[in-house]
Symmetry: D3
Subunit: 125 residues, 6 copies
């Protein structure tokens, strides 16, 4: 029963936060890969995103910061910059989040993230 | 004049956010190293932390996330976990920030940050 | 029911693989940190380590390679070098695993891991 | 004589393990770049891959784990996922290797590797 | 006045070092992103590149080494490999710089940088 | 014969560049670990450091930049900051090298390297 719960809870959170972009990732994880999608739903969105103590806006702000800071995460930044907008962060807050990282990771990683955001924001217009 | 402004603004922000722990870093950067301390004050704390658009609590949450995610930043996490408390984040919010990173960077980097936080929180009691 | 299962399964795997060193990590995650220990047990050791398709020796070989390659994981290497010995990898296989990484990550990360292993092996004598 | 040996040994290992994909990398390293190809052959494939103590399957499993864990290695993952198949790892074992890394590096790096593998496996059909 | 100075100094250094490739980055940082361009000019090129103690050739050699070593910096390597040529480093010195990194970061990161350089050098012919 | 050559060449370069600090690393790699020391001598110091095209000062400047930029390399920075002094870089040039990295990797990694250098310089007085 718990398994159904975690999966259902995670699926709902995924839809609410990452919407179509998140669902596309899960859909691409079919056949031999479907357990990976299941873990993303159950663990990341069922266990972690469902916790109390931080708002979804705070959680997405943390997520895009973590993705920017580790590098090589363009695909994931695309999903979670959209997710950040979905939960109510403004374009300005997203850019400001990236600017706050400059002293800690330097310009290259921040520029990489900004150009992903810029591309998303322009397509949304 | 601008130079005085940026330095003074940064110094005030540094004192307000990182307090003694931040000042200790600057003090250790004397002699041949003092330009590095100047850049931290002018650029990180004068230019970036002084921007509008995010609260200081949000900025510190972003900073500790960025430090956790890149790894090898124990000394800086010590300064900014204290800074997070100084600007009003609770111990629970700091731990919750670290937990939100688990799906994105895995357990080792999160455990490293949690053990630094735990050590700080226990000393503060 | 599933929750009990995943936790129990994970706890058994943790004991079998990481033994005391793993239990020490979980024990240190008490109070506000205990959910992190729960996720390590349920997700890492209940979900992932319990999968079929690879032996525990292969899983530990992958784990120590991943820890070496990301860096800043001395504490986790200590647990999983011991774990590697527990599941039947020899000291020679562990060192050989690290040597295989030299062309891919360079000497510094490999030396860091080797000195952790050397320290463990000498204490075990 | 040793130089001929190391180069010949390495060339044979490269052909056996990475086949055409590896040879393509070496071929692209012509002119001013040919010493880099020489070092890959002599050191990576002549010295390291030729060691005893681990099977070639184990060595490739370690290699793709190291590539996944450091990130920004799509081109090298392409060569060594093919290499893993060449030395006898199954598609399932390769995916399982990547899944084992989730608790240690998080989902983004694992997803990046899985999508490279998925693309290779589909082209091989 | 200092602000004008730092910006003007930085702009001059940017033009001298990175020429069109650097200006393209700044131009792409318009609207909500222009503060990032301002910080690159004022801090990176106004404060840091304008320091004494190292030649511009040494500074670019350090920059491309730092970009190669952190990974996921193809766009920035493009700018600074061109910048390295602009300040007088030869193609051979750039490749030699990358080769020197092999023992410290391994082959994958070095190959990534070499293929960016090779592409630039071939277009310059 | 080549093997003797590469080892002898590497050993001479190691002694000339890293002196006692480098020899200590090799000495600690005894018994099961001695092949790692052999590869450091033959490949890093026999093949790479012995190349033409860059001065030893340039090679050490590249090395300490690469170590700083990847992080978690305190032990290796100790060896190569000493090596940098041995081949004729001044304390000021070493610090200046680290300062040049600030825009590319941020303050934390640079501060880590500076505090290692500061410790070495103070002990040398």
């Amino acid at each position: 029963m718990d398994k159904i719960d975690r999966y259902t809870v995670g699926k709902n959170n995924l839809e609410r936060i990452d919407a179509m972009a998140g669902q596309d990732v899960i859909n691409s994880l079919d056949g031999n890969y479907e357990d990976v999608g299941k873990y993303i739903i159950e663990f990341a969105f069922g266990d972690i995103y469902d916790r109390t103590g931080l708002t979804l806006q705070q959680r997405e702000m943390i997520t895009i910061t973590s993705l920017l800071s580790q590098g090589d995460t363009e695909a994931q930044l695309r999903v979670h910059i959209n997710g950040s907008l979905n939960v109510g962060l403004s374009e300005e807050e997203i850019i400001e989040t990236f600017i706050q990282c400059i002293p800690y990771v330097g310009f290259p990683k921040v520029l990489n993230a900004i150009f992903v955001a810029k591309d998303i924001f322009e397509k949304n217009k």
